[in-house]
């Protein structure tokens, strides 16, 4: 039912979109291409290709430890964030309307606040508790970054959920818990999967708070950042490409499941 006016071709607009798409994707493509260089320096195009730098980064003692730590933290944070965010979204959507918008704003505000300010305060708190450089502190910091995303996606799915289904289940004698398990939860699952992927990636990429609270227990983004202070050698490109490959793989999974729209909703 799309009408002619919108579908009519507009070469200028198409060219502009292609240019912007190129701007968005080209840097990452070039990063990946250069990471396969067999030379000692980065340069485009590489004179010879090889897996040399990928072999280099999987040697023990270089990048594996931090990469493993980043994956571990993200794997802990994602399910916790999904659980916390879903519960909070249920509470505000099903709770009294009076508090809804205040609570919602409060819950999503860590997304907008400059993270440096949060990092300062959280670092102070963590130092008081003698918990700097601890997994617990890193996980809590990553939770505060990723829970808002879950709250947004889950509240949006709850709002689009037909309330009468839930009421029917309750009227037919189901307990609230049973109604949640058999009626609400199945409808939320796609959104929860998307949310979990988002939370995983947010945690995997988080920089500034972790940068403040860690000195020895670094995560991958921080090790990459620190290595930039010396020189940009091809191993950084290889590590970055590997990290990129992982997040892209997850994004493509979302895309294939048709849930990128849910992800897009996050920034609305």
């Amino acid at each position: 039912m799309q009408d002619d006016y919108l579908v009519a071709r507009n070469p200028l607009l198409l060219a502009a979109t292609c240019a912007i798409g190129f701007f968005l994707s080209a840097p990452l493509l070039i990063l990946v291409i250069e990471s396969f260089t067999a030379e000692n320096h980065l340069g485009f195009p590489p004179a010879a290709f090889g897996l040399r730098w990928y072999r280099h980064i999987i040697q023990p003692g270089s990048w594996l430890e931090t990469a493993g730590r980043s994956v571990l933290v993200a794997a802990i944070v994602a399910p916790l964030a999904v659980a916390t965010g879903t519960m909070a979204a249920l509470a505000i959507e099903r709770g009294p309307a009076r508090w809804r918008s205040t609570l919602y704003t409060l819950l999503i505000s860590p997304m907008i606040l400059p993270h440096v300010v949060l990092a300062l305060g959280f670092f102070r708190l963590v130092l008081m508790l003698n918990a700097d450089d601890s997994y617990a502190a890193i996980c809590v910091a990553h939770l505060i970054i990723s829970v808002p995303y879950i709250v947004i996606t889950v509240s949006a799915s709850l709002q689009s959920l037909d309330r009468s289904l839930e009421e029917a289940a309750l009227n037919l004698g189901a307990s609230e818990w049973r109604a949640f398990l058999h009626v609400i939860l199945p409808a939320l699952i796609p959104g929860l999967v998307a949310g979990a992927v988002f939370a995983f990636i947010e945690s995997f990429d988080e920089f500034i708070i972790t940068f403040f609270i860690t000195t020895f227990r670094l995560t991958l983004p921080i090790q990459i950042f620190n290595s930039l202070a010396y020189q940009l050698d091809p191993s950084v490109a290889a590590v970055s490409s590997a990290a990129l490959a992982m997040t892209m793989l997850l994004t493509v999974c979302l895309l294939l499941r048709g849930q990128l729209v849910a992800a897009g909703r996050i920034v609305r």
């Binding site: 006016y5 500034i208 609305r268």
Partner: protein, 283 residues
């Protein structure tokens, strides 16, 4: 019915985990920032109380305020660039066929899902002295020696726009897709040119989403740290960089906290102002 009726007690315990996390990592840290901003830092010791020393020195030292102003200007440039690049994308998203829309959506959303650091590294490879653009320029014979593209404000803006473009394009698309195409059609049938239709029908109707996107981009850009450090190479200083330096290198928490409060205040004022504009448009 049961759920609809009274605010059930169930609703509140569901907030418990979030409450725990938000108090530990959001409310308490913010409270500490405020408390420290009124403390006094002398000879390596922080003395608590209600002192305005930090605010006074932040305003009078001739460094903090200019940097805050620079940060706002940087954020403004980023927002303008996002507007210029984001609106065509939103228009195109609305026009494309579903398959093409999915591809475009992927291109737009993927920056949110890739690490800022990874993207900055990729820009180092492109804009660097021996990067792609310099090599291409030299190969084409346009320049004889590498041009300095990195480590200036331009590089930082490019890097930040790459990160925040989706936050502009998606809200703009959201409000554009809600416009009834028949409005534009009738304007066109009445003889308006394409540009005229866009300027006097499409654009005004999508203004709420565009303003929302611009607000978010501006606010996020006020808080940038990573990109100016990596791509500014010390030549671009933002307020978050001062805060980080004060805390991590000089242990002057009090001063860092006061500048944080100033940054939050600026953001709060801007948000209030912009939401008032948005409300006026919604009417």
């Amino acid at each position: 019915m049961i759920i609809n009726a009274e605010p059930s007690r169930r609703a509140w315990w569901l907030l418990a985990p979030a409450g725990l996390i938000y108090s530990a990592a959001f409310l308490m840290p913010l409270a500490l920032v405020v408390i420290y901003s009124f403390a006094r830092f002398k000879g390596g010791v922080t003395e608590f109380g209600f002192f305005l020393d930090n605010y006074r020195s932040a305003i009078s030292d001739g460094f903090v305020l200019p940097v805050l102003w620079q940060t706002m200007r940087l954020a403004l440039f980023v927002t303008l660039a996002c507007l210029v690049l984001g609106i065509p994308i939103a228009v195109q998203l609305r026009r494309c066929r579903p398959r093409a829309r999915l591809l475009l959506m992927f291109l737009i959303v993927s920056p949110i899902l890739t690490s800022v650091i990874v993207r900055n590294v990729s820009f180092l490879l492109i804009l660097g002295k021996f990067g792609l653009i310099n090599q291409a320029l030299q190969w084409l014979g346009i320049v004889s020696a590498p041009v300095q593209l990195l480590y200036n404000r331009f590089a930082v803006i490019v890097g930040v726009v790459h990160v925040y473009l989706p936050f502009m394009a998606l809200p703009a698309y959201a409000s554009m897709s809600a416009i009834d195409p028949r409005m534009e059609e009738s304007a066109a049938n009445l003889g308006a040119s394409r540009l005229r239709v866009f300027l006097s029908v499409t654009l005004p109707l999508s203004l709420p989403g565009i303003i929302a996107g611009a607000t978010i981009v501006f606010i996020l850009a006020m808080g940038i740290y990573v990109t100016p450090v990596i791509m500014g190479g010390g030549f671009v200083v933002t307020t978050p960089m001062i805060i980080s330096d004060l805390v991590r290198n000089q242990y002057n928490w009090a001063q860092g906290a006061a500048i944080s409060v100033l940054l939050l205040a600026v953001i709060g004022v801007l948000m209030a102002g912009l939401s008032r504009i948005r409300l006026r448009h919604a009417r």
